[in-house]
Structure formats: C-alpha cells, structure tokens
C-alpha cells in the first residue's frame, strides 16, 4: 500500500513514455519496481504519476556490437548474471550482478534501474564505473550519453533531469587481457554492501600496466579511486597488497565517507584499505 495515491501510466513505446514524463515533471519512471515499490510503500517517494516501462517495447534487448555492448533499460539483473554472451565479454558485470540481493530481486530488478537508484551500496555501480559505462538518456527533446560517474551525484541522487529516462546502458568491451574481480562485504547474505570493490588490472611482464579500482558502500557515492590506481601502475603484481595498504589514497575519500553508529569513521578508515587490498590481491590471483 503506497503512502500516497498516484496515477499509473503504462506506455507501449519509448516515445509515449517520454511524452508521459514531459507532461508531469515530478513523474517517476518504474523499471523492475524492486526499489521504487518499497519507496512508495514507505512514503519515501510520493510521485503524482508513475510511468511503468513494463510493457514498453524495445527496451529488453542486449545488443552486442564488436566494441560495445548495449543493455536495454528493461534487461533484468538476473539476465545480466546469466547471459553467456554478455558474461564472456563483461565478466566483471556478471559477477557483480550475481551478488545483488536475492534471486527474487534479480528476477525483476534491472541494471539501468539499479544505476539510476544510486544506492551507495549498489553492487552494479562500482562494476559500471570500472567498465567505464555510459547511460543512454532520452527525453521528449533529445538524447545524450552520460558517464555513470557523472550521473550519480550523491546517495539516491542523480543528475538526470525532469523528463529524462535511461533507455540503455552502454559498455565499451574491455580487451580480454584485463583481469577483473568483485568483492563484497555484508553482515547477512543478500544485504546491500557494507563495502564493495570492483577491480580491473592489466599485467605486463609481472607488473601492473593499468589498474582500475572502484569502491562503494560507506561512501556518499561509489567512486573510482584514481589515487590508488596511479599508485598501482608499474608496481610488481606481488607487491600489490602492500602498495594498497601503504598508500595515502584514503585521504581523498575522507570527505565522502558515510559513517553511522555501527560503522564509525575509525572503523571505516581501518577496514577499507584492508578490504581493498584483499580485492586487488584476489583479482591478481584470478589469472587473465
């Protein structure tokens, strides 16, 4: 039962959906509803109109081009987890998708909806940041592409404008020589992450030629940790964990930490480097 009544629109095409969004600036898009329906129930979202994409044609495809994979806005997390073609090219994303909540949530929740929900503990946002994904965004007035990092501006907050919706998430296909790994810390299986790390590294002659690390969980928003990436470049793979633990990159995150009563700042500043070191070491151990 929602806390407040709303009108439900179920457009059958993207252009009809965009018209519905243009007509009501406070309308909310609904994809899988796995976050929005609880928000409506709790009264944390009180839109006058909900525009459901459940019967909107053309949004449920995975298009695999030679250099890019486009995941339509209604593709579920479960499909991202299990699709063999996608998994072969975007293994990091598939691994992160398998960590999302329960099968129940993954069966209906979508990749695009997860990114647009901008939960700091999302599993899919750090993976999308490492893979340098972009959202393809449309409104009744036009179309633009926005990087996932630029789109998310804080907890549950995005830079999408009224009238806009994501129609697809686009991933450049990484060279198969990248090793990748995903690590998540939870108290109870199925919970949102207390901390999560997506890692991609390319090793040449025993040293890290390139590294990408994205952290989420106890931060206002998940971020690429550029300082740590720079520290890791050129370092022997065997010295990776020591480099993570010895660096000053945590200073860059200080302003973004989201401590609470159970996860105070001193715990977070002690835990995150160890957690990240383990994530990087695990990725290097995984082989190309």
């Amino acid at each position: 039962m929602p806390a407040a009544a709303f009108e439900l629109e179920r457009p059958e095409s993207v252009s009809e959906a965009l018209d519905a969004l243009a007509a009501e600036p406070d309308a909310r898009v609904m994809a899988g509803g796995q976050s929005l329906v609880p928000l409506l129930t709790l009264g944390l979202a009180v839109p006058p109109v909900v525009v459901s994409l459940d019967r909107c044609g053309g949004l449920a495809d995975i298009e695999a081009g030679p250099d890019e994979v486009a995941v339509g806005a209604m593709v579920t997390t479960r499909r991202v987890e299990l699709d063999a073609g996608l998994g072969a090219r975007l293994r990091l994303l598939a691994e992160a998708a398998a960590s999302v909540g329960s099968p129940h949530v993954r069966n209906f929740g979508t990749l695009a909806g997860n990114l647009c929900h901008a939960d700091p503990g999302s599993d899919l946002i750090p993976a999308a940041l490492c893979l340098e994904a972009e959202l393809e965004v449309r409104s009744a007035h036009g179309r633009r592409r926005v990087g996932v990092g630029e789109m998310i501006d804080g907890p549950f907050s995005t830079a999408l404008r009224p009238g806009e919706m994501a129609v697809a998430v686009r991933f450049p296909v990484p060279d198969p020589s990248w090793r990748c790994g995903y690590r998540k810390l939870v108290r109870r299986a199925g919970d949102l992450a207390m901390a999560c790390a997506a890692v991609m590294v390319r090793v040449e002659d025993g040293a890290m030629a390139e590294a990408r690390v994205a952290l989420g969980g106890p931060l206002r928003r998940a971020v690429r940790v550029r300082g740590l990436e720079a520290d890791l470049e050129g370092v022997a793979a065997a010295d990776a964990a020591g480099t993570v633990l010895g660096g000053t990159w945590m200073d860059d995150l200080a302003g973004d930490l989201l401590p609470d009563a159970t996860l105070p700042v001193d715990y977070l500043t002690a835990m995150l480097p160890r957690f990240t070191a383990a994530a990087v070491a695990e990725t290097l151990g995984a082989g190309p």
Binding site: M1, A4, P38, V50, H104
Partner: protein, 165 residues
Amino acid sequence: MTAVSANGGNRPAASISVTVSVNGRRRVIDCSPGDTLLEALRSPLGLTGTKSGCEIGYCGACTVLVDGAAAHSCCLLAATMDGREVTTIEGIGTAEGLDPVQAAFLETGAVQCGYCTPGFVVSVKALLAENPAPSEAEIRRYLTGNICRCSGFAAIVRAVAAVTR
C-alpha cells in the same frame, strides 16, 4: 474517490482491471494503481497463504512465482500483472496430497511458527525447477530472499536436501 485504509494511507477506489492467471485459473483483479500483488492476492482474491511481512522486499514471506520466477509480491504492482501466470502456495500441493517440498518440510521439522513457510516452499519450488540437484551452498545462496525469524535455517536446508535425494 478515496477511502482511508487500515494503515492510514489513502487507498483510491479500484480503477484498474487486470486479467491474471492465478494457480491456473483466469482471474480478473480490480485494483488501484498502488495496490501490490501481495495485497491483491490476499484481499480481493482471498489467497491468504501468501503472507505479509516486511512489505519492502526483505523477508520473503510474500514469495510467489510470476511466470515461474520467484518474486516478492510486495514489490510488484498488481496493475502491471496482466497476462502473467502467478502461482501461490495455494497452487502447490493439496491437503490430501502434499507437494514433495511440503512433505519434506514436515518430515524434517523445518517448520516452527510457520509464518515464513509458504514463502520458503514457493522459493524452493523455483530453485528446484532451475536446478533439480542443488548443493548445500546453492540451496543457501538461493534462499537469501527468505528469512525465518525463528532462525530454523538448518532444518530448512536439510528439508531441501531431502527432496533432492
């Protein structure tokens, strides 16, 4: 027209009619935009085997199958369910002929207060349809969407393993 519901929220009069297959029977559900599938099953349809717990997707007491896939019925709007096939606990086994999953829960003592049991049984049906011989780790992983507040998880996992033997 709006009527005030028991929880104080505004419940608009049913304005949408959707046709859903529920346990193999074609049912017409009259609902308002905000009614969840859980509410539609329990109240207009009277299928109270599907339990209401947290109402925000965490506890799994409200698990049903939608087109064969496990779903938290509290997180789906009834108005978006037209043309779907929904299976609730009432569609699994009968009092005379229990489903093997229900029989295993009984034999293994996997039921304490019983409130979570319908949700667990429905989730296990989805698990076994996908993976007829799951390992213990696979059973535990699949059941992350269901919580037993009596914390009888060990017996529940044993019950699932017993079905597959």
